[in-house]
């Protein structure tokens, strides 16, 4: 949770009156509901609704109201249904709420289902020209002739303009300041004067139509708050891209795959500004590979040659890269792999979010392996781990994974700004000059000189201690060997090496209650839902502590956290409890019976109530 939200949370926790899940209905509402509701906008993919929705989100954000936007989009370029969910919450809750309070209906294809799902008393802002009917009389209905208004501006682009019309109408319903709205339009269409003008006109049409036609019958409103001027909105993938540049990435090899492509595209987009000299030559190479296998090979090649190589992919890509990952582990090649996870198995739900690659990353490839996995939970961490990951890869001479997910990677989140790397690059144990080399009594590429399992390496081209790197068994000199003692010594050292990384990796973030009743260990983008889950649980009288794991192998603090708590839930967005499986295997026996898995995924971004209810059910089961 970022600092701003934390502050709001602390202020509000003192005198809050519960969470609005069932609002009073009807025309005569007794109270105004400010900054605590969810808007769901149903449109079709490829109609330009994304920019309209971002203008709305930016405006709410600029009014100082904590808000999150989630794009639920199909695997399609044009035509299939898409929803955009905006959650406003002074509490700082960022997950989509349990219900929709304001529904915008533009897409006829999902009209009936969207309408049927609404609770009585919900607000419906709908396109009167969509040739669909309003068949509910228990909702607050605001029909707007969106298409007709849009055609007035320009019939050729009426479809695009329709989206801005509903933003104008929403702005009027909720009381969004016109100036703020116009500033967001200018931000969205940077410098494109015609587009800015057209959109502002369209906003006005939507706004005026509502003002002239309706009397506001709903309780929802936006109250401006003190805006934290340091904050901005950014998605996790762009943060990773920037972080990679500040980590000095020298080679990016990638193959397009949702939801990771925007990491690579971000790196490409920032290369001219960040990595290019006056002559136009860059010190960061980018290669679009023929497939993920080749991308992984290129990453290993760059690491072998002494450079900082990386790729960004998603689960299916990691599946293809498995053989190389094993080679990287066994031949000890620094290499960086970002996995922005999506719903599997197989092609799965390619545009939906899940945390289901944890096991595959941690124990990737055939044979006994164990890999370092960094797991950011905020956009600030996406940036930080974006540069740190190279240091870990070179320090431990091994593949290191960054594990983000679609929700964190592709949705925009409030950011406090990025902090400059606090330490110089760690290039690991590389012998770069003859003098250093000569000081070694005995040199072997795989000789454990320092007792930490990490050997020294020389680089191709240096002329020092050349070896033929191999994926076959080898001795401390790197020579082919099938001797049992060589294999055993190598595998034991590799285990020690990664084991030694445990407490040097990002430590878990703890928020502990002194009662130490229930602990929740969670990871990644669940960060955006955990506080709401916690609050729901505490309403039942439970005292809940939080522990966000930020890397594998798990930091020793996690074991201590579990030790301190009566029961600990391992909470994750998947079916099988993959993190739970890993922790169970590594925890001492007396703790195993005190950790319990709550794993759930339906493809949607996590909604707090679903997880809270499952945690309660699990605790009931445990206490029986």
């Amino acid at each position: 949770m970022n600092q701003h939200v934390q502050r709001v949370y602390a202020e509000r926790k003192e005198h809050r009156g519960g969470i609005h899940t069932n609002l009073p209905l009807g025309e005569k509402y007794m109270e105004t509901i400010a900054n605590d509701f969810t808007i769901n906008i149903a449109t079709a993919n490829g109609t330009g609704s994304q920019s309209a929705n971002l203008i709305l989100l930016q405006s709410i954000f600029d009014m100082g109201v904590p808000a999150s936007g989630k794009n639920l989009f199909p695997s399609n370029i044009s035509g299939l249904p898409t929803w955009y969910i905006v959650r406003l919450s002074d509490m700082g809750y960022q997950a989509p709420g349990d219900r929709t309070h304001i529904q915008v209906l533009v897409n006829p294809a999902t009209w009936d289902d969207d309408l049927a799902a609404l609770e009585p008393g919900s607000v419906v802002i709908w396109n009167e020209n969509a040739k669909k009917e309003m068949n509910r009389d228990d909702v607050i209905s605001y029909p707007i002739p969106m298409s007709a208004l849009a055609r007035k501006i320009n019939p050729k682009i009426a479809k695009l303009v329709t989206n801005i019309i509903y933003v104008g109408a929403i702005a009027e319903v909720l009381g969004i300041d016109q100036k703020v709205l116009e500033a967001s339009v200018a931000k969205q269409f940077k410098g494109k004067e015609t587009a800015i003008e057209l959109n502002i006109t369209a906003l006005g049409l939507g706004r005026d139509y509502f003002k002239d036609t309706f009397e506001k019958k709903d309780p929802y409103t936006i109250e401006a708050r003190q805006r934290d001027t340091k904050q901005f909105f950014i998605d996790g993938n762009e943060a990773v891209a920037l972080g990679s540049h500040f980590g000095g990435v020298q080679m990016l090899a990638w193959y397009p795959i949702t939801p990771s492509s925007s990491i690579a595209e971000g790196i490409i987009a920032w290369t001219p500004k960040l990595r290019t000299d006056d002559e136009g030559s860059s010190n960061c190479s980018v290669i679009q590979a023929e497939d993920e296998l080749a991308a992984a090979g290129m990453v290993l090649g760059a690491g072998w040659a002494g450079g900082r190589g990386m790729t960004a992919t998603s689960g299916p890509g990691i599946s293809l890269m498995q053989e190389f990952i094993g080679l990287g582990y066994f031949a000890e090649i620094p290499s960086v792999f970002w996995d922005v996870t999506r719903v599997g198995p197989s092609t799965g739900l390619p545009t939906r979010t899940q945390q289901s690659d944890i096991a595959m990353l941690y124990e990737g490839s055939h044979g006994d392996t164990q890999h370092i996995v960094l797991i950011p939970g905020t956009v600030e961490e996406c940036f930080e781990f974006g540069w740190r990951i190279f240091d870990y890869a070179e320090r431990y001479q091994t593949p290191v994974f960054g594990m983000s997910d679609l929700d964190l990677g592709m949705n925009r989140w409030a950011c406090e700004g990025f902090e400059y790397p606090s330490e110089p690059m760690d290039r690991g144990k590389v012998v770069r000059d003859q003098k250093t080399f000569d000081a070694f009594e005995d040199f072997g590429r795989y000789l454990d000189v320092d007792g930490d399992g990490i050997p020294y390496r020389t680089l191709p081209g240096s002329g020092m201690a050349p070896i033929l790197y191999r994926g076959t068994g080898h001795n401390t000199k790197g020579e082919y060997s099938e001797k049992p003692e060589d294999y055993l010594a190598l595998m034991t050292r590799l285990k020690n090496k990664i084991e030694g990384a445990r407490d040097n990796l990002p430590a878990p973030l703890l928020k502990e209650e002194k009662e130490c009743e229930i602990g929740i260990v969670y990871l990644g983008s669940m960060e955006n839902t955990i506080q709401e889950i916690d609050d729901i649980l505490e309403e039942t009288g439970l005292k809940v502590s939080q522990c966000r794991i930020r890397a594998l192998p798990a930091h020793s603090e996690i074991e201590k956290f579990i030790e301190r708590h009566e029961n600990t839930i391992i909470l994750e967005i998947n079916r099988d409890g993959q993190l739970y499986g890993i922790l169970r295997k590594e925890l001492p026996n007396h703790l195993v019976s005190r950790v319990h898995s709550v794993a759930y995924s339906d493809g949607m971004p996590p909604r707090a109530r679903i997880y809270a209810e499952r945690i309660l059910a699990k605790l009931e089961e445990v206490n029986q």
């Binding site: 296998l293 290129m298 090649g301 080679l327 700004g417 033929l468 994926g471």
Partner: protein
């Protein structure tokens, strides 16, 4: 390694950078005695030594298979990477992206290049990745004990098993169609020709593919095999006599032939001289090269020599638009943008 060894008192022959041939040899081969691959390894050693390349500036790359084991048997002073099956091109590409100044010599086999790794081979060619790519082609999988590979000729029969009826993939024809900038075929038994071609490939900037027929003495050297020593010797059509004239020594070593010849200047200033035997072959003509391959195939022959050459295409390094020095030599402080730049970015985002 920068200091050159002094001339020893004994009369050991040294190359142009005063290195003895021993500086280019490797470990003892564990391949079957008589294997064509060992002959190719020896030619690689000679070619590198004679060309006077500093051994540590070479990177030996390979995939998996009998052929891919051979980097252990040559150039012991060079770093190398015996990668995974069929995926040596991608590893080489990544290494090259961060250190374009090494000479990358890849060795692969017909299983490695024509089956599992054909996609990576194709894309490395397409990028005009700057490397020497030698295929040790014997028509069978050796390490797994003699299954046909995708280059086995129609009508050929290995020691055990049926006659091959499946259409082979001609990697030279494939490469020419893909616009590969240096395409040659040779035979492990033709040391002189192979030596000249490997040297020329090392002087070339771009992807240089040499498909070398290299008989498998254990599984595919029987008389009915079209990739046996006996068969290739009988049925080789040599396009031209090949001579390599190094840029550092242009006068000696090669006598000017009496008949027709064609000189091709390579990127480092060296020359490959192609002396016409019967009909003249123009290596800049892709159609002529493909015709030669098709005619040979139709008559169950093997055509060898420099089939195709094109020095007009940019290599991958140029396409990447990188700074002059290899990226691994760029200082950390240059790689990481400054704090001021990050402050600027933060401010711009805050709007």
């Amino acid at each position: 390694m920068s200091e050159k060894p002094e001339r020893p008192a004994r009369a050991v022959k040294l190359n142009v950078i005063n290195e003895p041939k021993d500086s280019y040899t490797g470990g003892k081969s564990s391949l079957c005695p008589g294997c064509g691959h060992d002959q190719i390894s020896n030619v690689i050693i000679s070619a590198a030594w004679e060309s006077g390349i500093e051994p540590h500036r070479i990177a030996k790359m390979s995939g998996i298979g009998c052929s891919s084991k051979t980097p252990a048997y040559y150039l012991g002073k060079s770093h190398g990477f015996n990668t995974v099956h069929g995926r040596m091109p991608s590893v080489t590409t990544g290494a090259y992206a961060v250190n374009k100044d090494l000479l990358y010599i890849g060795v692969s086999g017909d299983g490695d290049s024509a089956s599992i790794g054909i996609g990576q081979l194709i894309h490395a060619i397409r990028r005009n990745m700057d490397m020497v790519y030698i295929i040790e082609n014997n028509g069978v999988y050796g390490l797994t004990k003699g299954q046909y590979s995708a280059t086995a000729d129609i009508g050929s029969k290995k020691k055990k098993g049926p006659i091959n009826k499946t259409q082979p993939i001609d990697l030279c024809a494939l490469a020419i169609n893909l616009g590969c900038t240096f395409v040659a075929r040779s035979f492990s038994g033709s040391k002189k020709q192979l030596n000249a071609l490997i040297k020329a490939a090392m002087s070339h900037k771009g992807f240089a593919l040499i498909d070398v027929i290299s008989p498998c003495v254990t599984f595919n050297n029987n008389d009915e095999s079209m990739k046996s020593y006996g068969y290739v010797k009988e049925n080789e059509i040599t396009l031209h006599m090949t001579d390599y004239i190094p840029h550092f020594n242009p006068i000696t070593e090669v006598e000017v032939p009496e008949g027709h010849f064609r000189d091709i200047t390579l990127h480092d200033g060296s020359t490959i001289r192609l002396e016409t035997i019967s009909e003249e072959h123009d290596p800049s003509n892709a159609v002529a090269a493909l015709t030669a391959l098709h005619n040979a195939e139709e008559n169950a022959k093997h055509v060898t020599g420099l089939l195709y050459f094109d020095n007009t295409k940019a290599s991958l390094a140029e396409d990447l638009g990188l700074v002059e020095k290899p990226l691994i030599d760029v200082a950390d402080e240059e790689l990481r943008p400054s704090k001021n730049i990050l402050d600027e970015i933060n401010s711009a985002f805050m709007g």
